[in-house]
Subunit: 273 residues, 3 copies
């Protein structure tokens, strides 16, 4: 897979410090023609699961051969390994702490390399900023065409992450709120496929923090302003929203922390086709 | 107008979610050489007027043939049309909800096209994220040289927006606070031209939330630290500021919501030339 | 020094307004091939010292011949001079208010030019936004190969800044908290070199807002979760952190404003090698 020269960055570094800019400087110092795109730097500090979902929802919209650098790295400087993952479509670079679980789930074939070759790192290694010292320079060397296999030995035991998805019983399909987005929409772990399969020809009954919703809409504008609704979001996840409002704020006041809260789907009346 | 390959993004998507990064991935997947510049993603949620002013103050600083993508889209997935506007200098892409009013006001000649050709969209359309599904891919196809007229039929009835500007009586010129910027400066709808014309040779008396200012300065440093002043901002709008301080915070505590508040200019003593 | 065509931006403009996007539009209008990288736009409003430290920690990670534009400019429109600094490695552009002190300290040889030639500015100058009117266009003309000496006369008296560094007595080495980063880590003015030299073979005793720390660690993970520690950050500054927590929030509640607070290093027991 020949590099596209495009490198994305997804971190919990925020945008108030020079950290992200420094990573870009390191990348351009190695490959001045690399093109760098920010996915987001506002993952909550140390939230590996949040970063994994963010990666899952975005990486496949980029050109083939893009390198995705993901740095949410609470174990920086400790024993966790720095890794590179090569698939048929993309390369991924970051710490081996479960961040890349969606990649492992989506690809039948992938190779994982333990980044051990200091010639592809910055010369002066810190114990606190491997985004700068390892992941940025490795991604940039990759973009110049260095083969992943030159960067370190292949490994077969990358850290796997249990991502919240769904629990299925005869009567209920239970998921979780995985993120509250900028608009206050609740993004859940339940996907269109499993919901449709679970419901069959029954109508949905969705319970989120005690609020009951009986329909899955297609767009916000299908309900009156300020009304809560369920719909599938732009990547097929069940989303709870308020038309022109903030579902997160409203449910937060009912239930305390809405992040991680359960969303329970059960079967209503059977729909006639 | 041959595309410059430069695409700007102006949205209310914030920077915490992967949404903006995803739009960039879609653009680069179609035209890997496109250059993408963020104007801002922090327009307040759904505030079409705020976005329109933001566009008005920025689009003309870009190279000719830049494509400006603006997505503040409370009606996403509903009946509002996706449109493309071509002028002699720039192209504009976004929802037909009034966002582009400044373009309609500034250009005598422009063409508006209703984006109807799915071959220029992403194959899987969502009901909630047309920034990704329509506006990003259309802007990228444009940057490859596809003619606007290929993207859909020309229309003559784009949605127009009543932008706050000014009300003029014999004794007063009344405008509105349209934005509070990062520095706490109040940006108003009144422009240098109409103020100068209104005042003639009279000195200004400006009333903002009960505070009276009797001079229009050229720079912040012309008044002592912490003192409030009026001046023309960098695009010629009347601005209320505090030297080294935050006018918005100070007036907010006096008047409640300062956004949308009136600013009243009346005539003081006649100046001798 | 031939320009690399890379221009970085470091400002206190925030990311809610179109100001940064406008600067990029101006740069690209002059040199459409310039590559623009954000360092940060979240320096606190008017904090020249904070911007100077931010510049000090980041500029040298960029390719040689990068132009660094720094705009924290409380005196905009007043008497402070716009300047350009040329060193053997980089160019720097911004207001003459002390921002570039780290450059003056790090380079034995540098040239400073007073930007006086309006042909390299925007035609319509404002009194409030020289980032757009002077610094962006000058940086872009530089990237096209215009010699610094053409931009204005050389000057020998740029404004110097007293940056907090350290006070040394026989018994103590005293520094200051210069920044609280996105993770709540306290970044101090004390550097590894002077601490090691001061301590010699003694163990460290660090006092920050009454909390005593007796070791300087290499990584966060060397202490249990939620425990406070001292370590050297990724550019060699003494940093006070909490493993998986926020040192700034914890010490803020003890001491009020932790920014600018003293950090006192004294000598503990002598270590045997």
């Amino acid at each position: 897979l020949k590099s596209a020269g495009i490198i994305t960055l997804l971190t919990d570094f925020g945008v108030s410090d020079p950290y992200v800019g420094i990573m870009k400087g390191v990348i351009l110092s190695i490959n001045p023609t690399a093109r760098i795109i920010d996915i987001t730097h506002r993952v909550r500090h140390g939230h590996i699961t949040e970063a994994a979902f963010c990666l899952a929802d975005s990486y496949h919209f980029f050109p083939k051969a893009t390198t995705h650098v993901v740095v949410v790295d609470p174990g920086v400087g400790g024993k966790r390994r720095p890794i590179l993952i090569a698939t048929s479509d993309y390369a991924f670079v970051g710490p081996d702490n479960g961040l890349f679980e969606p990649v492992f789930q989506n690809y039948a074939i992938f190779e994982v390399f333990h980044l051990t070759k200091p010639e592809y790192f910055l010369p002066d290694m810190s114990g606190t900023f491997h985004g700068r010292d390892i992941f940025a320079p490795v991604s940039s060397h990759l973009s110049l065409g260095i083969a992943p296999s030159k960067m370190g030995p292949r490994i077969d035991d990358p850290v796997r992450l249990k991502l919240p998805r769904y629990d299925l019983t005869d009567d209920t399909l239970i998921g979780q709120v995985i993120r509250v987005d900028h608009f206050g929409n609740l993004i859940t772990s339940l996907r269109r496929e499993e919901i449709n399969q679970f419901l069959g020809e029954a109508s949905p009954v969705i319970n989120i923090a005690g609020v009951i919703l009986k329909k899955i809409h297609r767009t916000y504008a299908e309900v009156p302003e300020s009304e809560m609704l369920a719909l599938f979001d732009s990547v097929g996840r069940l989303e709870i929203a308020v038309n022109m409002g903030r579902a997160g704020d409203r449910l937060q006041s009912v239930s305390g922390n809405i992040r991680g809260a359960s969303v329970v789907v059960s079967k209503g009346t059977t729909l006639s086709k």
